[in-house]
Assembly symmetry: C2
């Protein structure tokens, strides 16, 4: 329960291993699916998965004219919208940075795409009639615990204009089935384009406020900082990123890849919270060529990319790098962040090609 | 691809972390479910999840009079059986042993219970008409890779009398839905009571043989050994074991528990491959008392247990220990095994009780 956790260098702690096996990634071969099957979707559960009891209701209140609450059945009976959205953990890639912030040691697999069905948040806010002066909407989850010595329910806010985006949902289904417990059953928020921390799970209450939310997960965690003590900038839109499905077959322990010489199909996914991806480059031992990037399959979902690699016998390092239409490009090496947030450095895969 | 991996002492390697995030455990609060939701069921995928292509068929051959093959649709159209079975990874608990075998660093969460639906294997073997002299049935999966320098498909065998047990299934559904990719889609074997390695996923072929199967996963891996070079004894039935759902609320990073003083409900699950569990003991700081153990909910599934703890302000170590009707009891400390198999030492949970 100590208030500060010293950074880690080198091998991983038992706490990191326990967090990794609870908060699992998406195995990279699952990049083959346009929509990630529910059990393969990455997970970040800050505390415990709360029980999803019978009497669950969602309250909507704060600075509104008509506060109300909805049962899960009432929410399910409303006209719904289904949105295909890619979500990525803000800490994805943290495990590759040194020194390392003590938290989930994501290597690069903390990203997935699902179809979320629910009611647009804007419709619920309109029904509640926001009063003048509302600046933020706060979302309260049912998951409770300690972090840095502070006891709290997981809670986050969105600026009002973000909360009113038509694709922000109060979701009750994932991939056309009721939400599984680990993805927020019975109700969760889904905020496409933003890092995953904004998509509050086990949603209990929505609150309109006139002042910026100062809860731990908003004001302390999930901020980009270069050094301890800085106020930092909030994590928000997902940075441009790309991954390839590792080619060939793996070694069990090292996960190093073994590939047959000749033409090898390389494919993967790319995404950016701020703009469509326009370009993906593929590199063999540092020599970059352009891959083919597909148009977005849906406005908030990752794009496919592919290329063909003429693999020759030997040892190779493969890499991929995306550029979005806003001109944002993945860095070759991690950009330093104290908590390991926003690491969108290019993926590197080591491959042995045999004849 | 080296043939031997040196044992590990102390902190965990990047390879172990990558294996942990791919091969995730069951978060222990999910002990609350009689049947583990599919996405929370523990996973061990030796290589990559293979694509589940349209033309998948299962061949049944070897030392039989009438070899045949079945499409997935044909198998789904047969009379089926649904069995509730607890499966546990043979390596569960490996991460708590020192020195540590380089593999998935399970702490204690590599166990779950699901409902599997499929066709009894015995029925398929009878249809194929086993010839005289058949001693083993070999199961070939579609997942391929290297381990200890050897390239192979994952394959395992069962002695004939085990294969003919009525509850051994060729399963096409999990928890009343088609198998998810990560659990063996479209077809897998389910061998209740045995450690999970026997339940071959992505099942492609079943082969009757007159000699003991000498594949890597049978003759080299999954054997209890005290020292390098020993032939060892094969892993088979799950050893007696028990877990409790950690009480109270957690600290995010350490997962240490914080509990309010007073009456605390403690509950968990217990299982043994060889016999029903007759007794579960619960300990606070090493003082053991009997908990209440429920009768089995199904012949091959874990049993519930519960007790009440009068929690007083301070720091406590909780533990639980099961004894089955065969007199097998969990050890207080891990029993040494070179590969970290069969570690059924008692679970210990550290709790801070506050007033």
């Amino acid at each position: 329960m100590s208030a500060r956790r010293p950074p880690i260098v080198g091998r991983y702690t038992a706490e990191e291993v326990e967090l990794a096996t609870r908060n699992h990634g998406m195995p990279l071969e699952a990049l083959r699916y346009d929509v990630t099957p529910a059990g393969l979707h990455y997970l970040l559960i800050h505390f415990d998965i709360p029980p999803s009891d019978e009497g669950w209701s969602l309250g909507i209140g704060g600075l509104v004219e008509r506060p109300f609450s909805l049962s899960v059945a009432e929410l399910r009976s409303e006209d719904s919208l289904t949105i295909r959205a890619t979500l990525e953990c803000a800490g994805n890639g943290r495990g590759q940075i040194s020194p390392r912030y003590p938290s989930v040691p994501w290597l690069e697999e903390g990203v997935s795409t699902a179809e979320w069905t629910g009611v647009p948040l804007a419709r619920l806010l309109q029904r509640a009639r926001l009063r003048d002066g509302v600046k933020e909407i706060v979302f309260h989850g049912a998951d409770r615990g300690f972090d840095h010595g502070l006891e709290h329910d997981f809670a986050r806010s969105l600026p009002l204009h973000e909360a009113m985006r038509e694709e922000v949902l109060v979701a009750h289904a994932m991939n056309r089935a009721p939400l599984p417990p680990q993805h927020g059953a019975p109700l969760r928020l889904v905020v496409p384009r933003w890092y995953g921390m904004a998509s509050v799970k086990w949603l209990r209450a929505i609150e309109a406020t006139e002042r910026p939310f100062d809860g731990f997960q908003q004001a302390v965690a999930y901020r980009f900082r270069r050094a301890q003590g800085e106020k930092g900038e909030p994590c928000s839109l997902m940075r441009v990123n790309s991954l390839m499905a590792p080619p060939g077959i793996p070694d069990f322990y090292t996960r190093r890849r073994i590939v047959q010489a000749g033409e090898v199909e390389i494919s993967g996914r790319t995404w950016s919270g701020s703009a469509p991806v326009e370009r993906v480059e593929f590199a063999v031992d540092g020599k970059w060529t352009n891959a083919v990037v597909a148009k977005p399959q849906a406005p908030n979902a990752w794009q496919s990319w592919h290329t063909v690699w003429q693999a020759r016998v030997g040892e190779n390092e493969l890499a991929c790098r995306a550029t979005d239409s806003g001109g944002n490009v993945q860095p070759l090496d991690p950009v330093w962040d104290l908590s390991g947030f926003g690491n969108n450095a290019v993926q590197r895969i080591f491959v042995t090609v045999r004849g």
